[in-house]
């Protein structure tokens, strides 16, 4: 046990950074994730298939390609990167925020899919009933739709978190592998495997990443079951 928890400061940093990156990626993806899922589940507009394809792109493209595209758009000289840096002081390249962005983008299709499925499962008659009781569309969404899709929301968030914990290709391409800044768990493990005598460290971090993923998964199961019981949908 001591052997497992006896991490070097750099290894600890990698663990902390990974959790931070994954959490931020998950939370930041939720609002646009819900919006896009709503649009795809309910919207009827020209180019819906195209939008759907775009959302799913990170799932199909090699992660390196996604990372490279991020570098081109959100890098220091990229159009979006330059704009954000100049007007909002948000810099992505070679920062942990960039890692969060890469992880968020990679997990986005999974999150949107889960939320979209749960939105499609919502009985729209319930929303109509709320409407006749005087709730405007915004209130209907907040008091009926959102609570009813909560299990899907949790599933989508956990998927995004899990994907972020394991993301490697896009992250390393976009923000490289800088200890204490962009070196997440997978990058750290990769680094260990590249140096002689790094096996022990790689194994330690591997076990830790398994543990974190398991805890997240179990937590989501418990949470989803609780929500389900609250709603009495057996």
């Amino acid at each position: 046990m001591n052997w497992l928890l006896d991490l070097t400061p750099d290894e600890w940093n990698a663990v902390r950074l990974s959790i931070k990156v994954a959490t931020v990626a998950m939370i930041a993806s939720l609002p646009p994730g819900i919006l896009l899922a709503l649009l795809l589940a309910r919207g009827r507009f020209w180019g819906k298939t195209l939008l759907n394809g775009l959302v799913h792109l990170p799932l199909i493209l090699p992660p390196v390609v996604t990372g490279y595209l991020l570098l081109l758009t959100f890098g220091r000289r990229g159009p979006a990167g330059a704009f954000l840096a100049e007007h909002f002081g948000i810099v992505f390249s070679f920062r942990w925020t960039g890692a969060a962005l890469a992880c968020g983008v990679m997990g986005f299709p999974l999150m949107v899919r889960a939320i979209r499925l749960s939105i499609e499962a919502v009985d729209r008659k319930m929303e109509a009933a709320a409407g006749t009781l005087g709730a405007n569309p915004l209130w209907v969404f907040a008091t009926i739709t959102l609570p009813l899709i909560l299990p899907g929301l949790i599933a989508g968030a956990i998927l995004s978190f899990a994907k972020a914990m394991g993301e490697f290709g896009a992250t390393i391409t976009f923000v490289s592998n800088i200890p204490n800044e962009t070196q997440t768990l997978p990058s750290a493990i990769y680094t260990f495997t590249q140096v002689p005598g790094g096996d022990e460290g790689a194994l330690r971090l591997t076990l830790i990443s398994i543990a974190i993923s398991m805890v997240a998964l179990i937590a989501s199961e418990v949470l989803a079951r609780r929500v389900g019981r609250r709603m009495d949908i057996e």
Binding site: A129, G131, T132, L133, G134
Partner: protein
């Protein structure tokens, strides 16, 4: 309250073209499935936007396509009770009940929580989740939820259609109380004569997307030709009566009606209580002289005021008994044999046992509580 509807709306192959006005306490939209009743009620509620037309409640225009007016459903203050209750599964019964209250400006809240809970007998359900309620309980809660939004008009879309007979009998008295004890005008969609005859003050008959007839319940229910084919056997005279006395020796109740005394199986109602009965036309016989040696107990003297050819060999004969018209379905052969014509003095004969729970609007001895 006056509800005025004048609508043209297409749904695929189906065309709804309905125009009527009603100021009734409880207006029934009556017709077979596919006649456009539900579409019509959805148009009034604002769930559907009509292609063309106008809907107004008490002069307040809710839709007018010509004037480009469309009040969205959440601003209409029209309560709706759906066939499938539609209680919110993630909320307790109490939260469901409170939901509409929330969105009602406090100056317009007339419905009192306690009064509604009492009216519907749902006090013991407040902490439960909808999934733990029976079909009848769900529907009562749904009615309460709609009421507590203090609506200006209450729409009920076949609220009993998905319930079994026992559950229907459980809900009907509550709808009657709603009609008699609150001031909210009600529009009630149904495809059964039993419900309409018992509950409605006015009826709008729909057939194939058009208004086939509209008028007071008594006038519509005895026009058998206006009723959907599968419900025609249930049609007949609707009479508002009062309990005169109970005959405990034989287990009967004597009702006082305009047409005279009518004996029915013992009703669980106190003397003086109003009872609306429906005398099915197929249950009525006609005699030209006062019948003797007959087992039937109800013999009402009257004058023939209408004769209309019915299905196949039948004639529908309307007999005015002191101002109340009783309808009989007899064969053309009998009509000729008896020489019946308009103005003939006759006797309408009704067996006591032809009255049951479905056409006396009250519980029979089996579930007596009076």
């Amino acid at each position: 309250m006056t509800l005025s509807v004048d609508i043209r709306h297409r749904l695929g192959d189906f065309a709804l073209e309905a125009s009527f006005e009603s100021a009734g306490r409880l207006t029934a939209l009556f017709g077979p499935s596919g006649s456009g009743k539900s579409t019509l009620i959805n148009l009034i509620a604002g769930l559907v936007r009509p292609d063309e037309g106008r809907v107004a409640v008490d002069g307040r225009v809710l839709v007018d396509t010509a004037a480009r007016i469309f009040v969205p459903m959440h601003k209409r203050r029209i309560g709706m009770v759906f066939q499938d209750a539609r209680l919110f599964p993630h909320m307790s019964v109490a939260s469901n009940l409170r939901y509409g209250r929330w969105f009602t400006p406090s100056s317009e809240r007339y419905a009192k929580m306690d009064a509604v809970i009492d009216l519907l007998g749902i006090g013991h359900l407040l902490d439960r989740r909808p999934a733990r309620l029976s079909g009848g309980e769900k529907q009562r809660v749904a009615i309460g939820r709609a009421l507590l939004a203090s609506p200006k008009l209450l729409l009920m879309d076949e609220p009993l259609a998905s319930l079994d007979e026992a559950r229907k009998a459980e809900i009907l008295p509550y709808v009657e109380r709603l009609r008699d004890e609150t001031k909210i005008p009600i529009v009630y969609v149904s495809h059964t004569v039993a419900e309409v005859a018992r509950l409605a003050s006015d009826v709008v008959v729909l057939a194939q997307g058009k208004v086939a007839a509209a008028g007071p319940t008594e006038a519509i229910m005895r026009r058998l030709d206006l009723l959907p084919a599968e419900e025609r056997g249930e049609g007949g005279a609707v009479l508002d009566t009062k309990v005169l006395r109970h005959d405990e020796t034989f287990g009967m109740t004597v009702l006082a009606s305009q047409a005279g005394e009518i004996r029915v199986p013992r009703l669980a109602r106190a003397a003086g209580a109003p009872v609306r009965i429906r005398i099915r036309a197929r249950d009525v016989m006609i005699g030209v002289e006062k019948p003797a040696g007959l087992s039937a107990l109800n013999i009402l003297p009257g004058t023939i005021v209408s004769m209309r050819p019915g299905e196949g060999p039948e004639v529908e004969v309307g007999v005015d008994c002191h101002g109340a018209v009783v309808v009989a379905r007899i064969t053309e052969q009998s009509r000729q044999a008896l020489g019946l014509k308009l103005g003939s003095q006759v006797f309408a004969v009704i067996k006591t046992v032809s009255f049951d729970r479905a056409n006396t609007g009250a519980g029979l001895p089996a579930e007596a509580d009076v």
